[in-house]
């Protein structure tokens, strides 16, 4: 396992749960490598030449922007190697590598949260059919939802996650701020947030849309914009999303 961050941590533990062994944890920072290595009963290393060359699979789970550099420093030619990054193309691997691929679990990972891998979609891409089978077989041991996704699709999948997770989380932050600034507890939001996300199993977000913008209730919208007058950024976000909700529901193309 090359990496010791959120994805590396969760994926290592899931692989161990499925009966696999993690031999080494590589990180540029040996302390980080040690933390994860201890959980995995693996050897922590911080130096590329220490990488053993008899592993069944090398998993690169480091920052997206550091992958190219790492790939250039390790001889993966006769090995099996994958990266786990949503936004990094398959082409980052040189064609000289016999077995290269992508093993992308589509989820948000925090070290502080335990996760069940079983329903996390794992997106597979490989440079040949045998290695694809190998990766699909491995992914099936961790998850019920294994898909072949090519690099072009994976870019959009990753982007959709930015909207549905990163941006959504920031809207939770804004909502919590509006409450705490007015002496209310941000925890009041939890049932609403849970129901909004749970609806998606039953209704499409298009069908489930409620609120002033979809009704074109200009009076409420203007009152809200007034309430936000001391937060021009929140006001802008409110206006832009409301406009897009209105346009989505009233000018369907």
């Amino acid at each position: 396992m090359l990496g010791s961050g959120n994805v590396a941590t969760h994926l290592s533990l899931a692989l161990i749960n499925a009966g696999h062994k993690i031999i080494q944890i590589y990180s540029r920072n040996i302390e980080n490598a040690k933390v994860l290595a201890q959980k995995c009963d693996a050897i922590p290393i911080d130096d590329i030449p220490l990488l053993k060359n008899n592993s069944d699979l090398y998993i690169i789970a480091i920052s997206d922007n550091a992958i190219a550099d790492l790939v250039s420093k390790v001889d993966f030619n006769n090995k099996k190697v994958v990266h786990t990054a949503g936004s990094v193309s398959f082409n980052i691997f040189p064609k000289s590598i016999t077995n290269s691929g992508v093993f992308y679990p589509f989820q948000t990972f925090s070290k502080k949260r335990e996760l069940q891998f079983l329903d996390i979609p794992i997106c597979i891409e490989a440079n040949n059919a045998d290695f694809e089978k190998f990766l699909i077989n491995l992914a099936n041991q961790l998850s019920d939802k294994v898909l072949k996704i090519n690099s072009e699709q994976r870019k959009y999948l990753h982007l959709s996650g930015v909207f549905a997770c990163n941006f959504v989380n920031h809207l939770y932050h804004i909502a919590g701020n509006l409450l705490s600034e007015n002496n209310m507890d941000a925890e009041l939001l939890i049932p609403l947030i849970r129901e909004t996300s749970a609806k998606m199993k039953q209704l499409s977000p298009f069908e489930a849309q409620t609120g002033p913008a979809v009704r074109n209730d200009k009076e409420s919208i203007n009152k809200h914009l007034d309430l936000l007058s001391s937060s021009p950024e929140y006001q802008q976000i409110y206006k832009l999303i409301s406009d897009d909700v209105y346009n989505t529901h009233n000018f369907i193309t």
Copy 2:
């Protein structure tokens, strides 16, 4: 029950579950009144003069913008009356009414979804202490989370719900669109959406924030903006929220 929409429906059923009786369902549209009246074993009416004047409580659960008009048409002077609207001030009731108040369940309601009222915050406001007690007592029969919230706070509570529910739902819609436009199933988002909302019980959204914007990963941000070049609205939303994520996490005041 004055109203037959989402809130009126869920609240009527919750009251019946708690052992209360709904006498009449009023709606301007008698067909809508009939649908809910049948579920409640109540009498549907569409004409204000038909309202019986011996009910223990009159609940106005109609569109926010129609409440003032309805209040002006009914003699509530010696009755107990509440509205259920987040964004409508308590002052909408004339001072001549002996017992007036607000009974605001902070949740998103769809007729197609069943809901447990037990964890829905119910926000109470009343024009006198006895009626406040009456409403708190009633709310406690439906929910474990009953709070006194004044009209000024309630405005911000409602606004926070627009961000955490209506806008979040629209981001789900955008994310789903990005997938379907690229031949992927929007259902792929469900585990991610569920985990993003579930995190909030354990981590604040500030702590839980991940993604390119919080890392100031300009390379990924620019790639994403390129992918969105055919959807200028999505591009604008991406840019604005990313900027605000970055500013929130890097210029903490």
